[in-house]
Amino acid sequence: MKYMLLINAGSVAEDGSADGCDVQDWVNFDKAVQDAGIFVSGESLADLVTATSVRVAADGTRTVVDGPFAETREVLGGFYVIDVPDLDVALEWAARCPGALGGGSVVVRPVADFA
């Protein structure tokens, strides 16, 4: 069963990394995910100031705006998709993810299966 771990950074340091953990923590976590053979995909996202939103109205008009700049404290900073047997295992990996530290959170969502 595939689960997406949506990594919401709590507070972001000057260099763009999440507070409460350093680069080495991420390297270690990434290696653990790879070594466990559960890695499906994963990316970390560029800084939020680079984000752009697109909307298309009913009449086809396209609106492109800078942002969004979330008013919430948490910002989606990256994701993993892992393949594990059940939610308990997925939650265990989410708890080990450095993004869950320092006021951040990891949202665990099953990937829909239309098979």
Binding site: M1, P85, D86, L87, D88, L91, P110
Partner: protein
């Protein structure tokens, strides 16, 4: 045996066996909906066959064999289940041996129903449904919501269990300390909902509290070495023993100091006291054991005046360390007032009143009102009771506070 007698026998057996049957089927097939469906189908079959053939020697095993046969039939028929059938290597050829005992898998249902990924308000409802064998309408009545609302909550919870794949498993030893308190919390919340209904016309719903006690008895059977399970059962019994004395014939509240202690349930207290000793022996006491010990001191005393208040305060000190909470601090302050006098208790309550968590906590204002009244500070007592009245959820609580207000102004 008449058909109505058989019907009653079937119902008694079913309520007893429902949880065991459901748990064993969930473990076997990994599918709660299927397990519920064939559990019901097995009962219907019993209603047809037992009046004719008599109740089998091992009714549980008969129900289990019937349910498994129906599950296999259902899996065979259902195309969508075909792959699953192969995957689970369901043994469709060999008929389950009738009369064979099956293991008690109810522990995994306790853990799944109390899973932290489920919304808190639905964990108790699922537990009552799966393990106490209550139907959705009965569960809805227990929580004072319309049956359709409860049905929707349960459907959503089951959808989450199925689609997010919340596993049917007993957590491993390393997860145990994090998960067992969640199970106990669910059972205690069912009990307190029965003990002090959060809203509605009646102060207590004894049948819900009795249901919670029945569930903890099952858990104690499954986990005889867990002292906090013994502690929780002790706490429930020692509190529930006072149920008949807590309300007057007209449904109004009778305070602890005015209760007729002769109406307390002696055998239930005796059972609770024996369990408190179990819960307190063999290592550091857990929070339920300590709360049970406090309830025991009340139950053992002949009156409020002769209650061992220094010991009660000491136990609240322990509880405050184990589970620091402003609510515990309020109860401790009330006990201090009985040990050292109302002024000492009031100092503690006034300090607590300013915390955000307690500003809208009714019992704090009731306790303040009582102490202010005893100190002769009528005006302040009136405003404390008035604040409590605004916050009171049940009609008997409101009536009680109106009476106290009326007495103060006369």
């Amino acid at each position: 045996m008449s058909s109505s007698e058989t019907g009653a026998a079937v119902e008694a057996v079913f309520r007893e066996e429902h949880g065991r049957l459901l748990a064993a089927l969930v473990r076997r097939f990994g599918d709660l909906d299927l397990a519920e469906e064939v559990t019901s189908a097995a009962l219907e079959a019993a209603l047809v066959h037992w009046p004719v053939q008599g109740v089998p020697a091992k009714p549980g095993a008969w129900l289990m064999a019937t349910a498994r046969r129906k599950a296999v039939d259902r899996l065979r028929r259902d195309q969508a289940y075909a792959a699953k059938l192969a995957l689970m290597q369901v043994d469709a050829v060999t008929e389950p041996v009738e009369g064979a005992e099956f293991p008690d898998d109810r522990l995994l249902l306790f853990f799944t129903c109390a899973h932290p990924a489920l919304p808190p308000e639905v964990r108790g409802a699922l537990t009552l449904r799966c393990l106490a064998g209550l139907g959705t309408p009965e569960v809805a009545r227990a929580y004072l919501v319309p049956p359709a609302t409860m049905a929707q909550r349960i459907v959503r919870a089951k959808k989450k269990i199925r689609e997010a794949r919340i596993p049917f498993r007993v957590p491993g030893a390393d997860e145990w300390p994090g998960r067992l308190p969640g199970v106990l919390q669910v059972l205690y919340s069912i009990f307190t909902e029965g003990y002090v209904a959060s809203s509605g016309p009646s102060l207590q719903r004894a049948d819900l509290a009795a249901e919670a006690i029945r569930l903890v008895r099952i858990l104690r059977l499954l986990l005889p070495a867990e002292r906090e399970v013994a502690g929780l059962l002790a706490l429930m019994l020692l509190v529930h023993a006072r149920r008949d004395a807590r309300t007057a014939a007209d449904g109004s509240i009778v305070l602890l100091q005015e209760q007729d202690r002769g109406r307390w349930d002696g055998p239930m207290i005796a059972e609770g006291l024996a369990l408190v000793r179990v819960a307190l022996t063999g290592g550091p006491a857990g929070p339920y054991a300590v709360q049970a010990a406090i309830a025991a001191l009340h139950d053992e005393a002949a009156s409020v005046a002769t209650t061992d208040w220094p010991q009660v305060v000491a136990l609240y000190d322990v509880l405050l360390v184990l589970t620091p909470s402003p609510v515990v601090a309020v109860n401790r302050a009330a006990a201090v007032a009985l040990r050292d006098g109302p002024a000492a208790g009031l100092v503690l309550l006034d300090a607590l009143r300013d915390s955000d968590k307690l500003r809208d906590y009714g019992p704090l204002h009731v306790a303040r009102g009582e102490l202010l009244e005893r100190l002769g500070r009528r005006g302040e007592a009136v405003s404390a009771y008035g604040k409590a009245l605004d916050l009171a959820g049940t009609e008997p609580e409101q009536a009680h506070l109106r009476r106290r207000l009326a007495a103060l102004s006369s």
